[in-house]
Symmetry: C2
């Protein structure tokens, strides 16, 4: 019998104490449980991690930004050193392809994020030091008063991993300890990351509870955790129902929570685009829908067109490409059930399944590429129900009567991470664009033109966020450094505080000689 | 019989339709209702304002930042033109002194805030345009998808007025329409502001529902309003119970809400400060506690000292000055009841009333200047109950056994807007400062040294915010432009969007020649 995998609490890998249960990951390609067994931690154990994490908050105040940067860089190196094991394990646990996905795309992205966060730490500009020299009032963003709890999603075992991904990098860069909860879909991958992270902590002599790992706890314990007085903030990426429950608990306790919950990523295709390049747009759309077996938060789930001949031809082209495209493995059985339920709901509300619509009986979890269609009139009868995310290669086409109805459809949308408008390369669609864009702009975080939304670049200008229910707050992004760091901070003002007691970033001398600071209304790298 | 005062909805001053009731303001100096009668709007009427405000969102997208700036400037001029009427009315409704408070302090502060917001609009740097030229991804903060609802507090009839104060200036500067709810304590003052604001709207040919005014609605309608799908966000400044109810409703609907709810503003006085300048510190403290009859959100409600001879002498000095200081008028009868209840709660939990503790029977609402004391041991038995805000000249002194206990007290505090440490002018208290500061830092928005917290400068470096329950989110400030504007925005990213379709702030050419933008990691005023 395999023994239970140890949790990482307060600088010790140890056996879970009186776990509330155990679980194993399941290989989605074989529908078979993997051999390693992981504990579902009791709330007593969660409490131990919390107490240690809270202690680390104070300890981290004595750690310099350069030391934290060094930790992030060394951690990135250690991930690279473990890459064969990580790729092997993640492939087993998620059935995502080793190449190019895991090895050439997601792993380099993960280490790149950690190194960008290290660079941001070293540079210190992320904290937005703001100084009024006349009044001697100075402020900057600083770490929270408690550890950050991170719940990672199932679909990015590396880049959004709770102990190595974007949220982790951002929370650590701001100077917070992290308590990671592994996604139950890939506990083994998460454990390898945690081993690397903890080794980097030790190597740098950092507070030992700076990174901690629990694999799982009971849902009600998750609610208690995010609302606990000792917690600083929570980051959650996952399903909308779980996200909403956590949000309610955290909100009631006044604890910040950043959620990425669901997104339909509507694509509006204006008539001129089809006249000009129908087949190209179809290929781009299909590529965006099928990437990662449609399990991307930015997958286009809704396509809106004007009801006309070319749109019909476009739909037929997409249908053909959908049929030709292979269906990848889904991440879990729960996902399969959720997709079936979403499609059922759309059907009940008037959508017609044109292709797919059912499980695809391969050895692993698989759902047939699915296209649905509905008229604009029917969509507007129940826009909410017809905006149900199906996390797979599933898209609903809406055929609007005319431009006025297309505008109405845009106005009826819920918040999404992205919204896309395809238009004619010249001026032909300009008027229609002007009708749709103002509606769409306030529904999405990232607005695209003539480019599909999948693929989220890690750049300071990115917004991987958007209005509720895509996230919990429209002002923050989960991807893109330095902005993503600001989620895990409080605004710290110092009024008349003596010079030597100020954090380095607020002292007269520029701490690095290149930190950008807003001094008396001017962004500058100079000293005072 | 006086007729009902009209509401301002969708560009019309009109009689309330089927109001749910009526109310009058009360002159706190005479405990007498004033003659004007105001409607408590029905939810039907609230809905009309919402629909009009939502329509104005789209209309405002066609209005340039310069036009909004002009509106704010003209509004400020119009306020000045109405200043005698405003001062007269505010004095009647709040009993705050005309001089210096209303005329020389609060009114100039209000117009200054509006003009600073105008300047920020014109300058456009507030929106934090961030551009990645290589990937052609560009982002900035932009207005929300619905109007901003503003609930103003009772204690600043001008500077935090729902239709002229800091929240109003910030929401408008970001390009949002505002629906103001007057504080029921000063509806007449608010009406004069609304008249000026609406005249400025008309003079500038702006969307007519850009500013709207309701005086009051029933509490349950307030909960429906902040959670309504058409709402952009809410700002509330007021009592903790009301704030928490609104927060719960808005949170459930995923609507941003910014709250300023309560604050104890702890002051830690280290032994060296008393050795050096006991009487000066006592005078500064008393001045800070008595200003505005203690009805400031930054009034020190908790003073923490080490139990020793000098601290006792300090307490006696404060007591003497408290007894000498006149008690001003309180703003309302409800406040009086809340103060009594707060003191009762502190008493029940072991605090001893040394002076004051009861209503002061003047013609108006008045409460005797009150000092309470408690030992550190007793405080730590029930720190939560002993942190009950009493919005008046009421302060609780805590005498800690030693520095370790003082640290424990700091660690037990709830979130406050400010936290203060007084220390010896030389190095004497340096070690103690190092013990207390890390605890206090994560409990407050603004940390002060050797300076009392009342008086909130309007500077970009200010943080008038802090951890829950002082506010609803530790990352935002309600005072200080440009940061306060960011509350009423969403992060808008543009990915591959054609140049002429970008907002001006994100186009290659710097829109003003002086707007600060973060281009490829460098803050600059240049074009691309």
């Amino acid at each position: 019998m395999t023994t239970l995998q140890p949790v990482l609490i307060d600088g010790q890998w140890k056996q879970a104490q009186s776990p509330a249960g155990t679980f194993s990951a399941v290989n989605p390609a074989a529908k078979a449980p993997l051999k390693d067994i992981y504990p579902i931690s009791s709330f007593t154990e969660v409490g131990l991690a919390l107490a240690a994490g809270h202690q680390a908050v104070t300890e981290l105040r004595a750690v310099s930004a350069d030391e934290i940067a060094r930790f992030l860089d060394i951690f990135a190196d250690m991930i690279e050193a473990r890459s064969p094991a990580l790729i092997e394990m993640a492939h087993l646990e998620t059935a995502l392809p080793k190449e190019p996905r895991l090895q050439s795309v997601e792993l380099p992205r993960t280490t790149d994020q950690l190194r960008q966060a290290a660079q941001a730490c070293r540079d210190r500009s992320w904290c937005r030091a703001t100084i009024d020299t006349r009044l001697n009032i100075r402020s900057k963003h600083g770490p929270l008063g408690g550890p950050v709890i991170i719940f990672g999603p199932n679909n990015f075992p590396f880049a959004f991993n709770s102990i190595a991904g974007g949220d982790f990098a951002a929370a650590i860069a701001a100077g917070n300890p992290v308590i990671a909860k592994s996604n139950p879909g890939h506990p083994g991958t998460t454990k390898i990351f945690a081993e690397a992270a903890f080794e980097a902590v030790q190597k740098n002599g950092l507070p030992q509870a700076m990174v901690q790992l629990l694999y799982h706890f009971q849902p009600e314990d998750g609610l208690r955790l995010v609302a606990h007085p000792l917690v600083g903030a929570t980051a959650f990426t996952g399903s909308r129902p779980s996200g909403l429950r956590l949000k309610e608990a955290a909100d009631k306790a006044g604890k910040p929570i950043y959620l990425e919950m669901s997104s339909l990523n509507p694509v509006f295709i204006l008539p001129g685009a089809l006249k000009e390049r129908l087949d190209l747009v179809a290929k781009e759309l299909v590529n965006s829908c099928t990437m990662g077996a449609g399990q991307f938060c930015t997958k286009p789930g809704l396509v809106v067109l004007i009801k006309e001949k070319l749109s019909e031809a476009f739909f037929q082209a997409v249908k053909r490409y959908f049929q030709e495209a292979p269906s990848g493995f889904l991440l879990s059985e729960q996902l399969l059930s959720a997709i079936k339920a979403a499609i059922e709901k759309m059907k009940e509300n008037g959508a017609e399944i044109v292709i797919g619509g059912q499980e695809f009986h391969k050895p692993g979890y698989c759902f047939a590429n699915t296209l649905l269609r509905v008229s604009g009139d029917t969509f507007l009868e129940n826009p909410k129900a017809l905006q149900t995310e199906a996390f797979s290669t599933v898209s609903l086409f809406v055929f609007a009567q005319d431009m006025a109805q297309m505008k109405e459809i845009a106005a009826s949308l819920e918040g999404s991470l992205t919204g896309t408008i395809y238009s004619h390369g010249q001026t032909e669609d300009e008027y229609s664009y002007g009708l749709i864009e103002p509606m769409l702009r306030c529904k999405v975080g990232r607005l695209l033109n003539d480019k599909m939304p999948t693929g989220v670049a890690v750049t300071p200008a990115m917004n991987h966020g958007g209005p509720f229910p895509a996230t919990g707050h429209p002002g923050f992004t989960a991807v893109g450094i330095p902005a993503s760091i600001l989620r895990f901070t409080a605004l710290h003002c110092y009024d008349n505080v003596r010079p030597h007691r100020l954090p380095l970033e607020l002292q007269d001398k520029n701490p690095t000689g290149r930190t950008w600071r807003l001094i008396d209304g001017e962004w500058t790298q100079r000293d005072i």
